[in-house]
Symmetry: C2
DNA sequence: TTATCATTCAACCATTTGGTTGAATGATAA
DNA sequence: TTATCATTCAACCAAATGGTTGAATGATAA
């Protein structure tokens, strides 16, 4: 219903170091839940939950292969997140440009043609 | 202590539409708390708290001017967030390249010099 | 001075998060 | 078949979020 909810989920999912590590691991290739859990000092169940959060954000997709679940990264939602941030930076830089221009103009009128 | 805590805070702060709206508003210029709160259908106190979350993430800075607090966006933490995401995408694209190359090689050996 | 304005602090509340343990499910291997 | 393996489900817990209201603080205006 709320269209920015996707972005909410994406950023929320990324805001946890365990989940970022899982994602990073998955960009190097698919992995099963147990494999993903191995590096972490927490229960398998905890990792399972983290994966579900990543799934809710559509940052990973799951394929059932018999008794094992194979996880793969799906970086598509990252596009919206990157776009939001870049947009933010663009506006910010635009504003800085305006400021600088104004400062230069002020400078010139106050103290024209000075060196350095 | 944990160096990625900054990124945690940044992404967590961005994962809320109210806070993203506040940030966006601030890229167009400084504003006081009351001004920032006006568009939102929630108490002034709630917005005050959102601002504190943005402050914790160093995404806004506050200047006291008499009884009013003037807020300004500080986009610097966005750099790390953007960098993380871009890095992620780079690795992903690299992996896709490898995959495509492998597919092409396989194709060629299976069905060499076919058209289309 | 005193009232008002801008803001935070404090306490409270419901919900979500991030973790645990133990049992259930469902596929595979002996 | 039966035991084992991979995984989730369910219940629980502590802490954090996102909101509320009411009082406190501190600057300004009458």
């Amino acid at each position: 219903m709320n269209p920015q909810t996707g972005l909410d989920h994406t950023l929320m999912a990324l805001a946890d170091p365990t989940r970022r590590a899982i994602l990073q691991r998955l960009t190097h290739g698919e992995a099963r839940v147990t494999e993903l859990a191995k590096p972490f000092d927490m229960s398998l169940n905890a990792v399972s939950k983290h994966i579900q959060v990543l799934e809710r954000a559509h940052l990973v997709k799951r394929r059932r292969e018999g008794r094992e679940h194979v996880l793969a990264a799906n970086p598509e939602p990252l596009d919206a997140a990157a776009a939001w941030i870049e947009n933010q930076r663009a506006f910010w830089n635009h504003r800085l440009d305006l400021l600088e221009r104004e400062l230069k103009a002020h400078d010139a009128s106050q103290n024209p043609r000075r060196k350095k």
